[in-house]
Assembly symmetry: C2
Homo-oligomer: 352 residues x 2
């Protein structure tokens, strides 16, 4: 005997990203703002002027990637139950990527899923984490290995918060913007070369274009079975760099900047990228004080590290490289010799 279970099409999960001064936000039910002590100290007062809810609670969690754990999720859930949030309540993520990823994950499992709103306060989370619905935590096996796909109800991007952002973190966000341009949009890259992102109106425009590009990718491949992997341009190298340098010596965006330079060299090695293009990308990264050089101790060791990454179990590796500026290419398991040849160039630090 057999029963066929037909499930309803889930309601639309479409939402809007508002890139503007924070509008006033009215929430029908109860709400909890999740933030960390630093962001709260700097900006909570301003946020509270804009948020209205039936009941509003503030939950702060410790700042930093090392607290992106199930333990912190449980702490958050306990607070939500203490405050008697219910299925109609809304969470508001107010902070950087860690706050966004964890608040989204908590929202996805609290009473089997409630709404959440993103108010990202770092440039990186504004251009990156605010689109795509990836939420999660780290564990001892790696980063973001436990989580859910859970889309926000809305994202509010206000560049005002960035005024208190350390310069290095601002630049790390720019690296992700440049990444999007190199992979998907030659016009945008040209525009970035000509316009100064320290200028607020330009920055807003760049965020918008970046977010639009990411939205297109996510729309095509929400669950990362294909093209979404392109967003990892520079990341394969960056992960190894972060591993070797110890997390914390480079910001993620800085490691990605170096990783892009390496990926570009690999693209050149295979004839997909010109010296001129490599130089243009480097120049743009340098304009925002992003690192473009790195000293590899041993090319062989660096290479081996690709395969120790928990996510590649089968000794295969795909490099995401540009095919000229504005197009991507997936390079599946290139010959070791070619990769080593590229890595060897970094065996002694290049000058800036």
């Amino acid at each position: 005997m057999k029963v066929s279970i037909t499930l309803p099409t889930p309601p639309s999960r479409d939402y809007e990203i508002i890139i503007d001064e924070l509008p006033s936000i009215e929430i029908e039910g109860k709400a909890a703002i999740v933030t960390n002590p630093k962001v709260a100290g700097l900006h909570l007062q301003r946020l509270l002027q804009s948020v209205k809810a039936k009941e509003l609670y503030i939950v702060t969690i410790p700042d930093g990637e090392e607290y992106k754990t199930m333990e912190t999720i449980e702490f958050m859930l306990d607070r939500f139950f203490d405050h008697r949030l219910d299925r109609k309540s809304t969470l508001i993520a107010f902070g950087g990527g860690v706050i966004g990823d964890m608040t989204g994950f908590a929202a996805s499992i609290f009473q089997r899923g409630i709404d959440f709103i993103q108010i990202p306060t770092t440039l990186l989370s504004q251009v990156d984490a605010s689109v795509g619905g990836k939420t999660g935590i780290n564990n001892r096996f790696g980063k973001n290995l436990v989580g859910a796909f859970h889309q926000p109800k809305a994202v509010y991007i206000d560049t005002f918060w960035l005024n208190t952002l350390p310069k290095r973190e601002f630049s790390a966000g720019i690296a992700e913007i440049i990444k999007m341009a190199v992979m998907f949009d030659a016009d945008f890259f040209d525009w970035l070369e000509k316009n100064d992102l320290y200028e607020d109106s330009n920055l807003k425009e760049a965020i918008k274009r970046s977010v639009e590009l990411k939205a297109r990718v996510v729309n095509e491949d929400e669950k990362e079975k294909g093209v979404r992997a392109v967003l990892n341009y520079g990341h394969t190298f960056a992960h190894v760099i972060e591993n070797f340098s110890g997390y914390g010596s480079y910001l993620h965006g800085e490691a990605v900047a170096i990783g892009m330079v390496m990926a570009n060299d690999l693209a050149q090695e295979f004839g997909y990228f010109s010296t001129d293009e490599s130089e243009r990308v480097k120049e743009l990264l340098k304009k925002y004080n992003l690192p473009v050089s790195y000293s590899i101790e041993s090319a062989e060791k660096f290479y081996d590290q690709f395969f120790l990454d928990k996510k590649s179990h089968d000794n295969k590796i795909t490099f995401i490289i540009p095919e000229n500026i504005g197009k991507y290419k997936m390079l599946s398991s290139p010959e070791k010799e070619s990769v080593i040849k590229v890595l060897k160039k970094f065996e002694k630090a290049e000058g800036f």
Copy 2:
């Protein structure tokens, strides 16, 4: 500035429930069977004859509702990472409701969601938990408060496993079957009166009809915003009974049986149910040795307890009652006096 995010329609989550001798199951990637030591001891050997996978692991977790916690989920996830399961791996839930709920929840958050298959081994989980996609765990605030909606890829219901099920647990499963008939299907109720569920072919038929009814409800209201609440017929009373008696003195299905009798009395009080109908339901419950009487110490205290349940925050309560056999009615915040009047009848134990 504004960016509209349009998300793709998720792939169909439709699936089939096979009510038959377990067929052979071939899984392309890696798989892990999640079970408990008791079920494993009794039935794992038989299951293993039917399951083929690229790599197959067995993960056992302790038996019992008290282990339905985030701690056990983390234990499970750690084992999956130890065994290097990946995004293409499949979990197989092999056990009762606790195993199903937890395996489903773990599947929903492992690497942001992987497939899982249900092989329920208790009657209750075969008729109830196998449809609907509710997964989750308990915490100190209550039952099933943390979790996800995550649909299985397939459900295999084999009544063979029930041969080792204690009689009381078998009956507790029957209670849920009777519940479905009273709420939704007068013909099915008639059929249940005439056919003996200790007979395997009848049992299969009853499981099928029960599952079909539940599937219809879930299709209409997956996220429990309306009609799905009807499945709580008897449960409002049952939760109070379970609270007062301490979890464990009654099986859930037993408490639901008493709860149905109480709900029927309430329906009678409001003129929606006849004495004859009440008797018919009682007779059917008694046929399967389910309790139909209960001694309430104080009707007032019992009543107050409805509102201490964490899920009703606003002093409103909806009772699910039958409107004749085969139709449901939602009775929103009936006058206290009427409810007390019904409860008072239980203040001294009725005889069987």
